[in-house]
Symmetry: D3
Subunit: 255 residues, 6 copies
Amino acid sequence: MKRYQFAANSWAEVHEMERGDKIILIPLGSTEQEGIHLPIGVDTYVAEAIAQAVAKETDCLIGPTLPVGYSEWFLEFPGTISLKIETLTQVLREYISSLTHHGFKKFIFVNGHSGNSSAVDVVSREFIMSHEVQIAMVEIWKIANSLAKDIPKLKENVFKHAGELMTSVMLYLHPDTVDMKRAKVEYVKSNKPHFTVKSTLGPAEFKGVEITLYDKAKGLTESGIMGDPLSATAEKGKIIVNTITSYLIEMVNNF
Amino acid sequence: MKRYQFAANSWAEVHEMERGDKIILIPLGSTEQEGIHLPIGVDTYVAEAIAQAVAKETDCLIGPTLPVGYSEWFLEFPGTISLKIETLTQVLREYISSLTHHGFKKFIFVNGHSGNSSAVDVVSREFIMSHEVQIAMVEIWKIANSLAKDIPKLKENVFKHAGELMTSVMLYLHPDTVDMKRAKVEYVKSNKPHFTVKSTLGPAEFKGVEITLYDKAKGLTESGIMGDPLSATAEKGKIIVNTITSYLIEMVNNF
Amino acid sequence: MKRYQFAANSWAEVHEMERGDKIILIPLGSTEQEGIHLPIGVDTYVAEAIAQAVAKETDCLIGPTLPVGYSEWFLEFPGTISLKIETLTQVLREYISSLTHHGFKKFIFVNGHSGNSSAVDVVSREFIMSHEVQIAMVEIWKIANSLAKDIPKLKENVFKHAGELMTSVMLYLHPDTVDMKRAKVEYVKSNKPHFTVKSTLGPAEFKGVEITLYDKAKGLTESGIMGDPLSATAEKGKIIVNTITSYLIEMVNNF
Amino acid sequence: MKRYQFAANSWAEVHEMERGDKIILIPLGSTEQEGIHLPIGVDTYVAEAIAQAVAKETDCLIGPTLPVGYSEWFLEFPGTISLKIETLTQVLREYISSLTHHGFKKFIFVNGHSGNSSAVDVVSREFIMSHEVQIAMVEIWKIANSLAKDIPKLKENVFKHAGELMTSVMLYLHPDTVDMKRAKVEYVKSNKPHFTVKSTLGPAEFKGVEITLYDKAKGLTESGIMGDPLSATAEKGKIIVNTITSYLIEMVNNF
Amino acid sequence: MKRYQFAANSWAEVHEMERGDKIILIPLGSTEQEGIHLPIGVDTYVAEAIAQAVAKETDCLIGPTLPVGYSEWFLEFPGTISLKIETLTQVLREYISSLTHHGFKKFIFVNGHSGNSSAVDVVSREFIMSHEVQIAMVEIWKIANSLAKDIPKLKENVFKHAGELMTSVMLYLHPDTVDMKRAKVEYVKSNKPHFTVKSTLGPAEFKGVEITLYDKAKGLTESGIMGDPLSATAEKGKIIVNTITSYLIEMVNNF
Amino acid sequence: MKRYQFAANSWAEVHEMERGDKIILIPLGSTEQEGIHLPIGVDTYVAEAIAQAVAKETDCLIGPTLPVGYSEWFLEFPGTISLKIETLTQVLREYISSLTHHGFKKFIFVNGHSGNSSAVDVVSREFIMSHEVQIAMVEIWKIANSLAKDIPKLKENVFKHAGELMTSVMLYLHPDTVDMKRAKVEYVKSNKPHFTVKSTLGPAEFKGVEITLYDKAKGLTESGIMGDPLSATAEKGKIIVNTITSYLIEMVNNF
């Protein structure tokens, strides 16, 4: 049990830390459908793995991981466990409130699930206004999306839900949870002509302009895959994880 | 009082409508700082003006405008009135619940303030899962941002808070509320080296990759301006408004 | 856009005001059935019109109008949009909280809908106990009711929902939204013998003594009219509006 | 322990009742300042006494009394215990929900404290819309106020907080809790010229027209008395209680 | 009306007390099934009776009794009225908040219903952390259970819901509410082999080890009795009440 | 990643399960002071380890672990992270709601922290009344307490917070997180004469009878230890863990 795990320290050890200087990484995951071939814990696994990789090389602590996020629109898919956004927001509020009560002042949410982001936004804005704290959020898959362009071997150079990037990362981190026999290429498709859907969260386009179109997830995707997982490999996954990790180590050191 | 205003109809007239087919446009504004030279009601004025322009040319109704949104991070600036996000979410929930109770099934939020978007997201996802409804959201300034590239005269071809686009639109719609003598060029600036901030909402970059960095708005901008309003003109505003309106009329007709 | 509109001022202009002395008028409306011949926005239209007429002659500001109030018991009538009372209370709490945060200390709710009153009561009592503020509420239709006795031409010298006073006011303010062809005389009628009902809100009498009897609105009135709108005229409406306005100007000057 | 007390029945006895026909009287009290000479439990004592007197002569049941209501504006006076209005509303909601779950359909709130009324209103309207129930509320002091005109001996023929009527009723019901040596005449007085205040709840007048003016209770009354308790007698109290009781028995029999 | 009743004092008398030293006993009851032969108000009656007996011999005050608690799992039995635990918690929070606002610092909850205990726990912990107060809770039936071993005549020397102890106490306090003709012996029985159930609240055993097994109350008991009420007598009840009272007087004097 | 982890399955695999028969173990932990020599994650580590040991030998699934519980009274000790009990209750409600939505019907909470129990109670009672489900809770340390009597080598044959049992278990499971150099013997001590305190949660005794006495944790214990950890060994820990595991495997098989 490594000491970069917040939970691995005694209260006395926490007491003796330079709490005002310590950065706490807070992994946020989800339990939701991640395509027919990937485990429902993908976001949690990845947020934790990245946080650990970063903590190993820096002086950060990793706070307790929240494995259930806001994924209400995926409840049609068996296995999805979701909090309401109000509940997640309240959980984050009390989590940060406890830590600021102890004198911690620097927090970076390591967020594996974009559905959680608006709750993080709300709570972070509250605390920067009411306390002398510094807060950032990094969204793993957004970073993967940004960095993918510079990784030569990738076929999909943007992030797609359950596509090449996510599948590669899981083949690297937890290959035993990936069922490549079920993997297939599928893209979200709007049932409205002239509208293009970009994900099940709402982002869509009409005539090339970004609008938001709310649709039942099951109506947009059958398998839950919204990209091309077939070219995924563990080796690519390793490169992606390492690229993200290196990036975050540098970011953390400049925070 | 035009009949495209929902509120201008009697209950009997509502009763006699083809309620299942009618699209209701729901203008969402804000009351918040919009730069030192623009009125705090900008988002509300613009959402209403656009909704009316669209309604005039289509068969939509315009629901009651919500003039106060989620703008908590701007409370440092005098005049800002903000709901908590949970309150705004609940207001939207009860608004849509009332309308679905009466048999309406098609809603388009005409959102003038991006801070409101996550509340719209949450409520819309709830209703598409629990009711047979169609819901979309258009964010005025996001559309302006997308369409700006195609408007030749503009100096800023992306949307900046209180910059050329917003100022031009206000010079066109409500010139008496604009004080160009106070206008000046200012950009948000992070107080952390190596980090670039994109708005007061959190979007930021570290080494060209998008992350989120929460900062007090007053620490990022002095005037509330985050762009260049100096080249704004009423004429450009008219073009922008008309471009957005034409776009939305087409979108509404395809919804 | 007149500067007595709070929203028409920039944050800098708000900053430069004598905020502690400024009275803010807060128009509260509703979106609810107002009789078969009147638009569902009556209360909002009237609260706004009165607030503007008062602001023109005084030094008050008009805060953003809330067009949706607490009208749950009218949800049987198509078009009614209602907040729960807890939600409305919370909205008002955050509205006043934002304004007191900026140093405003004087508020007058200009309330067009009596269903909103208990929420105003609760929030006002909270703020006078926790802040150095002055708060009043004027209920437009209650004032109309009081003043009607002194207006010679009126047939109904008390206020009745959708009756002579309300209809006259709307014929004066927004004649295009009134459908006099549908107007007719109807009074609320209890389905319990020996009980007299006074409105759909509950007020009733048994043997001349005031009690409260809760009934479905649809069981008490078919058209939503609870008085005699047939003798209404725009001219009477003008007198009523002017009488209320004069009264309020004097009240505001003494506040 | 009389069987008209709901709580005095076993679950089996409740089960065997004609639950759909039974009227349940629900006494609502308060714990708040009631003038310097009267006990803080006045409203509870009176609501219970009246409910019992009515139940003895009719076939009603008396539900559990709620002795703490909404009295927030009296918290400046020692001894006042208050719920927030949202909490009281929720308590009433769950109370009625439990009873309707068991098949009860007729409820009369016997309300000793006008501060509770808006919570009763809200919950009653909800249940008449969602269930096949009949609900009424009687406000003890409002009834006293209506009936006082017909009681010859009274000096104050309207109800005043801690005045002749309330003091008389307490001298009759619980004389040991009344300290007439402290009793004195006091009336609420606005600290604003030209405004007349009618109670600490807000009702006020400007130029004879009813408006609402919120003020700290302690600024309006020193002793908590808002009338003339000096002419109160137990004998008058007996007449008042009997008059109210007779009235309510008749009302209940017609409900 | 004895002055040990908090509600029997005027605000002035409360003001003149040594509020910081005064212990306030807060009786908590319930309205729930208590076996087929006992009234649904048992817990309230007993908490009040004990609190009064203690107050008579000490210098304590008795705060308003809460007659409705958390009994949701008994809603299958007619007559049960229950708050949600969140509502009860909030009621207790506001109750104690009002009293600490007035300077009271010592509270003992006299709790007749174990379902209420977790709400008392939560609120008490909050207040000891945020205020300089002393708080204890005594659970009547737990004390009866502890003391029963030393009362020679009892057949059941532990407390059983609606068994000998509770029935005896009610035969002593309110014999007119007890229907011994319906009394019979019944014990809760799990419908799972190898599991033993101890009450309808959840406590159970598997192989002699304590676990919690949630079951519908109606599936565990038909009559609501979970012991042997047949040997109950008023005389035993008197001894039990006196034993508890003597114990609590001593405890209060040492608090 | 073993397939007994719920999160390790894809939505399709969850879909193909016999969901109605599957038992889901839900580990509940805490992040709170656990004595000066033990890590703040003890309850989470142990709940997870036990759940895994049980799942390996049975057909259960392990749902996502909740690592933050209700520990508000320990917030004085650095490192404690606590939810409010209402928040934890809501989290559990939405967790179980998601799973019952997918057709799961059997849940066993594997609870490492007694502070969480009342939230589990509330939610479990709700779901057994509204759904056809079976729910149990096992509290690890209560089971350890029951079974300790039969483990010959133990010096403390009851469970004490941070005492021999807990320390032994941690020496076995995560020795690197235990700092035996800081371990020492300490017992909770009431600062009231004649009262004996049993834990920081409230349980106490006066004259041998169980009552509840709320005290600040820091006033009762300096080190957070409430027993004797000095005789703890990894070997004893192994026996304890295996004894609990064997017991639970049998219990699960009989559920």
